[in-house]
């Protein structure tokens, strides 16, 4: 049938378009000499990978630093965003719309306007050019996401369960540990994994606040790319997308809602 063939073609085009930009990076990472007009590299080599994975290139250190920043940002955003999500998800109150808008605004407003001013503030506080400063600045785009997802999680949570636990003699901590946390944990895990990714992919904020002194992977990637080291760029690029793939596989079990959670949170 013509319709079927057309659909198959559209599916194929979509799948191909999704992976296309990653292909040259993957080939470059194992290419040894790949000059125009050769369609495939003259030779294959693992030199870019052994350089990237050796201690002397600083790439692994940058990987660790980027992970540390993303991890710290995620934990901080969870500590702040879970209570806020609870307030927005469980209660109706006056000014709720305005509060929601205010808490979500940082995710929609272009980061450049915040980054310039925040650099000035951090300069005075001695936080400019420090890892702490970068972590705090990453909270700006990450926190709205955490709050949004946790508000959705809490809107499906039944607070009567907590009341029952308290009536049966549980302390507030026991109630949280044994009743609330297990109920929100799947949603919280998804929120944290994607919060990690939002921090992991920051470029401008890290560059502005870190002032070039905090060399996360995307900054390193750009400097290799602009130095024309396509092979190393390919290897670093693949290393850089690895956590995203892991997150995708880790959340694969919660198929329902994952796409929506990703779309809501991992803004464009």
């Amino acid at each position: 049938m013509r319709r079927d063939r057309l659909r198959r073609l559209a599916v194929l085009a979509l799948a191909l378009w999704m992976v296309l930009p990653i292909l040259p990076l993957a080939v470059w990472s194992v290419a040894h000499g790949w000059r125009f007009p050769d369609v495939s590299p003259q030779d294959w080599s693992l030199r870019a990978w052994s350089f990237a994975l050796s201690g002397r290139s600083g790439i692994l250190q940058s990987f660790a630093l980027t992970s540390f920043i993303a991890l710290a940002t995620t934990l901080l955003s969870a500590l702040i965003g879970v209570p806020a999500g609870r307030a927005l998800g469980l209660y109706r109150f006056r000014g709720k719309g305005l509060v929601t808008l205010f808490l979500l605004a940082p995710a929609v407003l272009p980061g450049i306007a915040v980054a310039f001013g925040l650099h000035g503030v951090f300069l005075r506080l001695g936080l400019a050019g420090t890892v702490t400063g970068v972590i705090l600045a990453h909270l700006v785009p990450v926190l709205p996401y955490m709050t949004l997802v946790m508000a959705a999680v809490f809107s499906r949570f039944d607070p009567d369960l907590e009341a029952q636990a308290r009536t049966l003699g549980a302390t507030p901590w026991q109630t949280f540990r044994r009743v609330t946390l297990p109920a929100i944990l799947p949603g919280l895990m998804t929120a944290m994994l994607f919060a990690f990714l939002v921090s992991w992919s920051q470029y401008l904020i890290t560059l502005a606040i870190g002032g070039g002194r905090v060399q996360t992977l995307p900054l390193l990637l750009f400097s290799f790319a602009s130095a024309g080291r396509n092979d190393i760029t390919g290897a670093v690029g693949l290393l850089y997308i690895l956590p995203g793939l892991l997150v995708l596989i880790l959340t694969a079990r919660q198929v329902t809602g994952r796409g929506a959670a990703m779309a809501e949170g991992l803004r464009p």
Partner: protein, 287 residues
Amino acid sequence: MTDRRRIALLLAPALLVVGGLFLTGLGLTLLRSLRYFPALGLTQPDLAAYAAILTAPGFLKSLAFSLWIASASTLIAAALAVGAALLLRQTFPGRGLVSFLVQMNLTIPHIVGAIGILYLFSQSGSFARLARAAGLITGPQGFPVLTQDPFGIGIILLYVWKELPFITLILLANLQILGEDHEAVARALGASRWQAFRHVLLPMLMPGLTAASALVFAFAFGAYEVPLVLGAYAPKALPVLAWQAWTDTDLATRPEAMAMAVMIALIGLALLALVARSLGRGARDAP
């Protein structure tokens, strides 16, 4: 503890962080754009920086260029995403894999995709090599300039690649909630496939599509790293121009950089209002 106090306590940390980081940062950008900088003896706010950028030809060109990139990217990505969402809603062999690829793309940082697009579409990139192998061109110069070009084609290609999945996933989530009943009713009442889509499904998808498109537009308009990799020397995207003015060794251009950043934020803010309105309308329409 009353509910009001409980709500206030729950919200306090988030409000403090957003106020302390986001609002303070934004506020200082605004003050500096008004050339208010007591440490440098500037205590009389004025609009000189805005006047300077508005009369400089570079700013207006960059503004127009950024508006062009953002509109073209958003329109193309949104149109393709509607098609992709309708496609992925159906069942067919390999659907799981395509869904996975679409979601995978969402996790890939923009800068990686931008470098990938550069390696694909530049004059010595993969497609130029294929064209050379096919005998279509004789050298790199024969291949059209698709990256770091004055029309922003490379930048638009990257956004279409990156935002297509974003809009698609939002539409798919909407479609899941809507179900197929409405269309089935329309079809049973004699509507053609196109009519059922155009007059029944599309209007119901519109709130989600508008919100997602606004987010894409705001992002494509304000992003820095994509035009940094894929943009031409001139015209520069507005964030690139602003960054350049901000990092200039001549400190006098700082207020102008701040003014440009404020203009970028204002356009983002206008979009935020649009999103809020469309979401508000959507919420009222919901049963």
